[in-house]
């Protein structure tokens, strides 16, 4: 059997991706996670004197805490299998990536395992986030100094 023929047969036998169903699940779960985030934001604003600008940070930290509990109990993996991007895109997915890498790293010791692996999955998000923020700020700084745009 030549590789092309094999690919054809493989394509025929893989079930088609259920695009709509996946999107619906992602929408529901992602939406619910964000609604929970909104509830936490309100709690911080009502009980802890945060403003709507500063409550965002506290909310993110709380969401990461919830992600830690769910990850440790093995529940976040189940949620991820159901929701796909719905659980990966919210900041809880970032927390899950860090926490699960830290827990798994334990088998290799604290320094090389937990410390070294913690950002194995989440590191690319930080790198590209910081990298793009740096260049965008640089571009804007240059544009402002040339007088093209205002701050």
């Amino acid at each position: 059997m030549d590789p092309q023929e094999y690919q054809q047969i493989e394509q025929q036998n893989t079930p088609p991706t259920p695009y709509l169903k996946n999107c619906l699940k992602a929408f529901l779960v992602g939406g619910i996670i964000c609604a929970i985030g909104q509830a936490i934001t309100f709690l911080y604003m009502i009980f802890f004197d945060f403003t709507d600008k500063t409550a965002g940070n506290a909310t993110v930290a709380t969401m990461v805490f919830i992600a830690m509990i769910l990850t440790g109990l093995g529940l976040y993996r189940k949620l991820g299998a159901f929701a796909g991007a719905g659980s990966a895109v919210p900041v809880t997915g970032f927390g899950n990536a860090v926490v699960s890498a830290a827990i798994e790293g334990k088998t290799e010791g604290w320094v090389l395992g937990v410390g070294g692996n913690m950002f194995k999955l989440a590191g690319s998000v930080i790198l590209f986030g910081v990298g793009s923020a740096f260049f965008i700020a640089l571009i804007k700084l240059i544009l402002v100094s040339m007088g093209v745009v205002e701050w």
Binding site: Y19, A26, C34, T41, T59, P90, V99, V125, L141
Partner: protein, 123 residues
């Protein structure tokens, strides 16, 4: 009623951002890692254009909880300091706004490693 709408908008906008991620994975055949990187960079670019803040005002947690807000707040911090201190501000301001996500992830990751036992492949 205002409270109800803020939940609704958070739900809808957060859901839509997740659907964009799902489409990148399903239709674009990207890995979750690539998808998240694209979303973070998009968030940073949107803030550079001044479009992310209005989205936060409209959707609240629907815009601050998805990973796009990470790119947004990195850029936001860098821009705010760059305005005050010029070139150096780009670096000093970078993590000013978004310290909580990363420090929470590090602290809670460490605590999780202390209390939970590894269960084999990916939690």
């Amino acid at each position: 009623m205002i409270v109800f709408y803020s939940f609704l908008f958070a739900f809808i906008v957060g859901g839509i951002i997740c659907v964009i991620g799902q489409l990148l994975m399903d239709v674009g055949k990207l890995t979750p890692g690539h998808t998240l990187v694209i979303l973070v960079v998009s968030g940073a670019i949107l803030d550079g254009l001044g479009l992310y803040e209005p989205l936060i005002d409209f959707a609240g947690a629907g815009a601050t909880v998805p990973i796009t807000s990470f790119g947004n707040s990195l850029t936001h911090g860098a821009l705010a300091e760059a305005e005050k201190h010029g070139w150096v501000g780009v670096l000093t301001g970078m993590f000013e706004v978004t310290s909580s996500g990363i420090s929470a992830a590090i602290v809670f990751g460490f605590i999780a490693a202390l209390i939970f036992k590894p269960k084999g492949k990916a939690n």
